[in-house]
């Protein structure tokens, strides 16, 4: 097929650009909740992701002394680390976490800001997130911000200087898929920075829908880590994000209420 070479060219020249850096993969993945470091490494390799989120925690927590550290399994020379402020419920804790991450990763400025407001739904606390974003941006951080799917709030974050806005599709870890595609579309239409769906994806079709809506990327963790076969699901997600992106670029056919034949109506012999 003559189209193949052209298709490959068009997708390879379609990078995701965040804060001036180009990434070939539009799938960003979390590194939590895997069975062990080996599964973490295999799933993340299969996902093709180049940006991986990490948590910052006390050294005596969550560490099996017999296991290599995350930094050994996913070398920062090969992956772009995205420290996140998961677990923070106020601006102060989030800012503190980002500053520690910057020291840990030798001046690394790209962070995922997430300030939660509800332990039950894990919905973001928007006033606290705005407050933290303002401090972090002033302090030189490049902030990718987790937010709800409110178009007005999303625009506010973009206007204040966040390098990416990441609305939720559904509550974190719920796997319920994109609950409000119309809001995601509003956010995409108004976007001046990359928009990534972050949280709520459950399976490959959810990721494809996010991309078909025009999102620039998808960030997920549980959808891969909690699958029966995380490595296979990581591969499925890689394909879904790519397929959804290509479908968006291709432009879908218009929806019609009734059937439209695809074979010519003339020349029938019956």
């Amino acid at each position: 097929m003559a189209v193949t070479a052209e298709t490959i060219r068009s997708t390879s020249s379609d990078p995701l650009i965040i804060a001036g850096t180009a990434y070939a993969s539009r799938l960003l993945v979390g590194t939590g909740k895997y069975k062990d470091m080996n599964e973490t490494r295999r799933a993340i390799e299969a996902s093709g992701a180049q940006i991986v989120t990490v948590a910052i925690r006390r050294t005596n927590i969550g560490q099996n002394p017999n296991e290599p550290s995350l930094l050994e399994v996913l070398p920062p020379s090969q992956y772009t680390y995205l420290p996140n402020t998961a677990g923070c419920y106020n601006a102060e804790d989030a800012v503190r976490t980002c500053r520690l991450a910057r020291e840990l990763l030798d001046g690394h400025a790209l962070v995922k800001l997430e300030v939660l407001g509800s332990e039950k739904t894990l919905y973001p606390d928007i006033p606290q997130t705005l407050k933290a974003a303002e401090i972090l941006i002033k302090d030189g951080f490049k902030v990718m911000v987790y937010t709800n799917d409110d178009p007005v709030v999303a625009k506010r974050f973009a206007d204040m200087g966040c390098v990416a806005v990441m609305p939720l599709a559904a509550p974190i870890g719920s796997g319920l898929g994109i609950r409000n595609p119309y809001n995601i579309r509003f956010i995409v239409e108004e976007a001046t920075v990359p928009i990534l769906v972050d949280a709520g994806v459950g399976t490959a079709s959810d990721a494809a829908v996010a991309m078909e809506l025009g999102c620039d990327g998808v960030l997920m963790n549980t959808a891969i880590a909690a699958a029966q076969n995380p490595v296979l699901m990581a591969q499925a997600m890689r394909k879904a994000v790519q397929a959804g992106r290509e479908a968006y670029l291709a432009g879908r056919m218009p929806r019609k209420q009734y059937g439209t034949p695809s074979s010519p109506l003339g020349g029938t012999f019956f």
Binding site: K33, I61, G62, A86, L100, N221, T222
Partner: protein, 78 residues
């Protein structure tokens, strides 16, 4: 002297630098970040920085994480 290390009280022998503390924790080779009384102490100063009585020390590193999540026991949606 006493320090509060990652939220737990510890008796340590003075003088003790941050580098010495990390060595004692078996973290000499690990990449970590250190806060003393909520102030980040850059890695370049770990060798010279001497801890004082009642210092609150946090030693953190990067672990696997995505969004905040907890066990899903009793949390299903049909």
């Amino acid at each position: 002297m006493k320090i509060i290390l990652n939220g737990q009280e510890r008796s340590v022998e003075a003088p003790l630098t941050i580098a010495g503390l990390l060595q004692g924790m078996g973290l000499g080779e690990r990449r970590v970040a250190v806060e003393v009384n909520r102030e980040i102490i850059p890695r370049s100063q770990h060798g010279a920085y001497e801890l004082k009585d009642n210092d609150r020390v946090e030693v953190v590193f990067a672990i696997g994480g995505g969004g905040m999540s907890r066990g899903t026991g009793g949390n299903t949606w049909q």
